[in-house]
Symmetry: C2
Subunit: 508 residues, 2 copies
């Protein structure tokens, strides 16, 4: 008997080569692909469709918390950008710079830059400085506060080692920017938006996250405090899925954003900023993907049910297509979370088995096949993507339709539970000293799906100079989780007394 | 008795100085303002909110016609861009060019561009060339056709004479790009999308448009045929509100987009592209604005009803706020076109009269004020923005709520009818020779609200060399309308025999 592993849709598998598996699944799921333009990506229909669902859900949460959308220029004059010193240090190294506003043909007929700008412009890597410029004009008095803005936009950071969906020269995101009268107000906003992100990631993306604060070395350039949500990928690495920053007076002073207070004094506002990006698509893939492709959580899937007509040469084509349309119409009357179920009929002119594998790779939560036999028997042939090993099942048509909302909610929960169980299996709490720590992260230096590393939650003395020990392991402090145990212990790096608990991990 | 004109919210009025009125109303309505970055604008909450409504409506129309959204890089290598010769001629003169990917401090501590790119990148002025690059990879066979893509994105054209909302260095738009087996298929797509734009402009934006084809001189660079919708602004000038292009084989050949046909031959695809942009916000303002501000058509207004609590020092504040919340809740249960009515309570800490004027300037279709007296009498005080001259009216609360869908539809129609009547009054059909033509367009060289010019619909011989006569008048051929009368006549420019009818106008 052959011991050959079963054939999978994605090759190599996660166990064989995790990094290559990631490149392959992103492409096979039709989420994204690299562009011919260096470091840039193309979001394809299934990936952009998922981003649209994210936008729709997040935008509602932002509006429910009182924010309004604006759109600011993507061009930032160097003089604006230069105003905040830390900000410059953090971003100036990797930005696109526009220096000319025209192309002309040179003597050889080649197009070359022409019309040099008096002041070069950078393409926004983030918009604190340009939005600060407007805030300084719009805010006069405490009556103008809080000012609660959000922007959906593309941003650009010139990444030296691009990685699809995670680090690209251009990506899409939202950036919230707010200004407040008091530090308390601004801190409430900062933590409120982190909680919005946590709820969104866990409830909608089915990605469990740890909420906490970044240590000083990992703060956003210009921030007083940076808070984050950290997720664990299937190779045990951490992925920062969203951040929320209390910026104190950094940008208020850099951009002169002042207001007349209730007592008549001229004060600086307290600002915040917070963002998530299309990197969440990468987090989705590395949380829910398997060796056959993606498993899209129902709440974020562009289509929750895909119907495939089974057409052979002798099939009653019209009858089958009518049955598909009728099933679609019935499903559209059903809901998940009060929203109509999202259904697509795949009527492409290709083999139905090829279609089925396409949707398995894309991760449509439920795939329904309908042929002449099914119509006769009043049944539908159903594949549940997250239970692919169970194969196809045959439901009474009415039962399938009536249960659809419940089944989608069940799939959503199952994906979250699987991810949470995986994380629990890789979240280590019993490493107490450097020898054990070093041994743990040395098991497999490349990490990888079978490497067995994950997050180490341990005591740390808080002395940032101790972190240089981590460099050789490629490990960083991901965050100081909010849920501290408060107990006395021993720093895993220095052996000194410590009460603080932090999360150590390799990260994307 | 004084003959002083009544005070208006926007000063100067349209009659006093149309161009300045436009700048003022865009700002006073909180739609947009110019940024400190040369030629760039900021879309503010009311303007961006209107754009969101446009996106939502158009996106549904695009999806209903089978298109899917993608996202392509904004950076285009010069070598891609250079592939289509006409395209280069049309766009190379006004583009942002990225030449460096880093800033460094020079000896004086000044940030300067560093890290020169091997090949400069342009910021997309439009995406035919970069999307064509992908199409050439994705399309192999006739089974891959049609390929129906759309993209929501920012684009950049370095305008020498920027004008807010109409010509800015960066703006937001959608660009559809499709590839087809046959010319017929591509032409059907081109005209279908023009019809989508026409229906959207007339039914949703309440802007009457003329549909037609551009003459050769006015085509999109690289297009075989360009179709357009042209609207008349209140100064009688034309504004191109949307275009749809049949691109033939221009980009298929430039980007080598080929497919194996049903007969086995290797053929070039036929491509199309089509777009509308945030310039439509400018069209809205110049169609529906008056001397007191904007009048937003209900179908596109971010809020259709704004509720203002009337709070004086001795008012029962809690009771009034509860009444406002209750009215909002009741209105949310009502619909326009099957969608819940969009309602906002303005609870800002400023005078209620100031709030009322804010919403008049913004153009909220209905403004409702609620004070203690209204609650006692069971009435609501209503201002219908498009009938401002009628002042406030007092409705039974129940009647107002029950009629809201109908009243919003009535306002929508009234705005369209007013715009259509204005256009009819300025669409001249009886100019038959050059003398009359010249006299008509010389009446007031600057155009302007009271200038009296508009569109001249007249016969033209089709000889493009005859158009040089128009230069001195600043007039162009806007389009060849689809609804030709087919009659023989005399060319208004040359006196030669002509059957073609065209629209002449000054344009934005």
């Amino acid at each position: 008997m052959s011991t050959k592993a079963p054939k999978t849709a994605i090759s190599p598998t996660r166990a064989e080569n995790y990094n290559e598996w990631y490149q392959k699944i992103v492409r096979a799921s039709d989420i994204a692909e690299l562009s011919g333009v260096r470091g840039c990506q193309i979001l394809k229909a299934w990936g952009y469709g998922t981003w649209e669902q994210m936008q729709h859900d997040l935008d509602r949460r932002f509006k429910d918390t009182g924010h309004e959308n604006y759109y600011f220029p993507m061009y930032i004059p160097i003089s604006y950008f230069q105003r905040e010193a830390d900000h410059v240090e953090g971003f100036a190294k990797e930005m696109a710079v526009v220096t000319h506003h025209r192309l002309t043909k040179n003597a050889d007929g080649k197009l070359v830059p022409d019309g040099e700008l008096e002041e070069p412009l950078i393409i926004r890597p983030t918009s604190e400085t340009i939005i600060g410029e407007s805030m300084s004009k719009w805010i006069q008095s405490y009556r103008d506060l809080p000012l609660l803005l959000n922007q959906w936009a593309n941003v650009s950071r010139w990444e030296m080692r691009p990685r699809i969906l995670l680090r690209t020269a251009e990506f899409l995101w939202q950036e919230g920017h707010t200004a407040h009268e008091t530090k308390d107000d601004a801190m409430r906003e900062t933590t409120q938006m982190l909680e919005v992100y946590r709820a969104f990631c866990e409830d909608v993306l089915a990605i469990p996250v740890i909420t906490g604060e970044k240590i000083a070395a990992e703060r956003f350039p210009g921030a007083v405090n940076t808070y984050c949500i950290e997720a664990m990928m299937q190779d045990g690495r951490a992925l920062q899925a969203g951040t929320s920053h209390y910026l104190g007076h950094s940008f208020a002073k850099a951009c002169t954003i002042q207001f007349q207070s209730r007592t008549g004094s001229l004060d600086y506002v307290h600002t915040t900023s917070w963002g998530v990006s299309t990197r969440l698509l990468g987090a989705l893939v590395m949380t829910h993907g398997d060796d056959n492709g993606m498993k899209m959580p129902p709440r974020i899937a562009p289509y929750q049910v895909v119907i495939i007509p089974i057409l052979r040469e002798d099939s009653p084509k019209e009858e089958i297509m009518t049955a598909c349309e009728k099933l679609k119409a019935d499903l559209l009357n059903e809901t998940l979370d009060g929203q109509p179920v999202r259904v697509k009929i795949d009527s492409r002119d290709i083999q139905s088995s090829e279609k089925r594998w396409d949707w398995i790779k894309k991760g449509a939560p439920l795939i329904v096949e309908i042929g002449a036999k099914d119509i006769a028997s009043g049944k539908v042939c159903v594949t549940r993507r997250d239970k692919l090993e169970d194969g196809k099942r045959f439901d009474e048509r009415g039962t399938f339709v009536g249960n659809i909302g419940l089944e989608l909610a069940t799939i959503q929960q199952a994906l979250f539970d699987t991810a949470a169980a995986f994380r629990a299996s890789r979240l280590v709490r019993d490493i107490k000293d450097w020898a054990a720590f070093e041994a743990y992260f040395s098991k497999d230096e490349d990490g990888g799906f079978t490497g067995g590393q994950g997050f180490v939650r341990a005591k740390w003395c808080g002395d940032e100079t101790s972190l240089t020990k981590l460099d050789v392991l490629g490990v960083t402090v991901r965050c100081i989780p909010f849920d501290q145990d408060g107990c006395e212990g021993v720093c895993v790096l220095t052996g000194r007394p410590a009460t603080l608990e932090v999360i150590f991990a390799r990260a994307y």
